[in-house]
Every structure is written in C-alpha cells, then in structure tokens.
C-alpha cells in the first residue's frame, strides 16, 4: 500500500504492508533509529514521535496511516550538532542512563514546548510524563531537567 509523509522535513514514500508499524517504518525504512521500540503495545512511550504536532505512540499507528502527515522524531531536536535546550538540560541533570527511553521523553516534551505547555511544577511534570516509562533513573533527574527549562 503506497503512502507518503514528511519526516523531520524530508519527504518519504513507501509501498509497504498495511501492518508495518510507523515506528518500524521510521527505524527500518527511513533509517532513523533514534525512535525506540520498547513494548509494542502502547504503554512504555519509548516510541513517542510527533505527528502533525501531536505526541503519538508510533507503535500504535500503521505507517500507511501517516500518509500526508508531518512526522518529527528525536533526530530533529539538535541543530547543526548543537543539542536543544531540553537535551542540554537532560545532559546537565543526568536525566538519562541507558538512554533508551530518552527520545520518547524528549518528543513528548517537545510537543508540549511547542504549545507553550511545558509543566512548571513537579506534580504537573510527573503528570504529563506519566506515559513515558524509565527503568534506570527513578525519574527525579528527568523532572529536574524539565523544570530547569520550563521555569
């Protein structure tokens, strides 16, 4: 089934099985492996990307459903080799260890940042990030990194 979309501003076309997940198209066809696949059942958030400005679980969309959409992945955050402010804050506050969940967190946050909706306190931060799971950090450093940017 044919479809086309833009990923990080670049046009992609595919002729793929309908069952190919958007996450797998991004990783295997577009070769953008920053987006990670954790659970494939929509609970971990590691696959979070932006689709037409909204944060979505790319393991719960079929690639063909992204036809005509503007997809943004973690690769779009850094500019000319410079980390984005949120990436920089994650680095500074040690908000990642293995880093597997980090693209998902960053894209959730990017979608909020673009709406001017970054959480300003700990309660809100934990609320909006409830859809992203981290096995390494215990979340506190992630919260600190987010609030350092939002405040």
């Amino acid at each position: 089934m044919r479809f086309s979309c833009r990923i990080n501003g670049v046009a992609y076309e595919g002729d793929v099985e309908p069952r190919l997940l958007l996450a797998d198209f991004i990783r295997h066809e577009a070769r953008l492996t920053g987006t990670n696949v954790g659970c494939e059942m929509g609970v971990c958030g590691a696959c979070t990307v932006m689709a037409d400005g909204e944060p979505v679980r790319s393991c719960l969309m079929f690639a063909v459903q992204a036809d005509g959409m503007d997809i943004r992945t973690v690769e779009s955050l850094a500019e000319n080799g410079s980390l984005s402010p949120m990436q920089e804050s994650f680095h500074k506050h040690h908000a990642l260890q293995c880093g597997f969940c980090s693209p998902g967190f960053l894209m959730t946050l990017e979608s909020l940042a673009r709406k001017g909706a970054l959480p300003k306190d700990e309660e809100d931060a934990r609320e909006v990030l409830s859809g992203n799971i981290c096995r390494c950090t215990g979340y506190q450093n992630i919260v600190d990194a987010v609030l350092a940017v939002s405040r």
């Binding site: 089934m1 099985e17 309908p18 069952r19 997940l21 797998d24 494939e40 059942m41 929509g42 609970v43 958030g45 979070t48 689709a51 909204e54 944060p55 979505v56 679980r57 393991c59 719960l60 969309m61 079929f62 063909v64 459903q65 959730t108 979608s111 909020l112 934990r126 609320e127 909006v128 409830s130 859809g131």
Partner: protein, 279 residues
Amino acid sequence: MKPAPFTLVRPQSLEEALSLLAEHGEEGKIIAGGQSLVPVMNLRMAQPEILIDLNRVDGLAGIAFEGGRLRLGGMVRQAALIESALVRLHAPLLAKALPNIGHVQTRSRGTIGGSLAHADPSAELPLVMVALDAELVLASAAGRRIVPARGFFLDAMETVLQPDEMIVEISVPASPPDTRCCFRELARRRGDFAIVAVAAQRTGEQLVVALGGVETVPFVSTRLNGETVRGRSRDELGAMFAEEMTGRHVMGDLHASADYRAHLAGVLVEECLREVLEP
C-alpha cells in the same frame, strides 16, 4: 510482536465507511484512534482481516451545543474534549474525568467513539456516559438508531453494536449551571485503567452515582439517589451502599479482588457524596 497481515481501507465519507462495514463488518474492524485496537492486534489477540480506517472521514469530529444537548462526533479525540470550552461548560463531569484517561500520547489519537465501542469495564468514558445518561447514535448502511448509554454496554468488551454498525454521535443533556459533580478513580499508576472509578453528579434534588471497574459494565447506583440520601448520615449512606454492593457481581482479577474493589467503591462513593452533597 507484529500484527498479522490485513487489508486497510480508508473511506473518504461516512457513506463509504458504512457501505464497507455492511460488506466487511464480520471479518473486519473499524480503526479510529487505534489506542485500544492496535495493542490487541500487536499482541495478536485479535487478527481482523480488514481494517476500516475512519481517520479520513469528515464530519465525525464535531463538538456542538444544540437543543440543550452537548453533541460529540464519534471521532472526537480525547485531547479535543479536554480543550473544549463547550465540554467544560455543559458537561463538567466529563471534563473532570478526562485527565484520568490514558496519557497525553494516547489522548491525541484516542476517540470517544472508540473508547465506548471498546467497552472496557475499567474505562472512564463508558462510566461518564452512563452517569450522564448519554444517547448514542448508531449508524449502519440501513439507517440510524439511538441507544441510551445505559443500555449500550452488555458485558466486558461487548456492546449492542451490530457488525455493520458504528457510533457516529454521542449526546448528553447539558448540565445546569448549579450542577455539582465529582469524579474519583483509583489506579495503580497515573493513566492506568481504573481499578474502581466513581462519577457522581447532583443538580438540585437529583443525584446520580455511577460506578466503573466494579461490574463488567458501568452502572448507576440503585440505592443512592436524590430521594434516598436526603437527611441521611454518612454512616447510613455507607451502609445503604454496602447493602447494594452485596447484590452486585463484583469483578475480581489479578489487579484487585472482588472484596477489595467493593471496599474501594465504598471509599470513593463516600468521597464523592461528600463533595456533591455538602454545602
């Protein structure tokens, strides 16, 4: 895991969608937000041969206030419900429940119609629609029918929807300005399905207390209403509710035993009654 192979069709109109449903409704499934369906397909717990994708169909995602009712298209995203001033104004109970549904990434795609059609016993939207006495408009190629939410849910994951039918609209009577409402849910983590959820709404002398995650479908309490709660103490209300619960078929599973759910229900009902009854 990856889903089994299927055909995907993307109708451009409701008429086309209904015609596809008429032809393929038995072996096929509608995909709306996909937040419930795709996990099930990825786990191969469901292997529909054909998916009818509603995301290209216009006219199903409206939010309007007409004739004293709040009218919601079946494809309205949960995120859009949260943003809607009309929802906040005319259905405050729904507005209170919405942040409990899933997560930011699921609400961007998940739809109200999809959640109702999926009929998970622990889902918030079925509970709120039952509490608000919503009406669902079901459409097929043969026509339309209206089913009250209170008669829509048959069992866990089972509704009155026929294979060739889909939900096109949900409408609720507008809540009057002096309405007091409360939504309480207990879940192990934010965004998880409720173990038990209570939705209560009072307008003047009318009171509705509804529960989800207790039986296999959401229900309205028969013992607690505007008449019966008048002048009762907190202990009396607790006893009345506990009595009703002994006659109910409470679910028990690995998340919570039936006893625990019944106990939790009592706790959350008490909280809600306090919130909507006390001056």
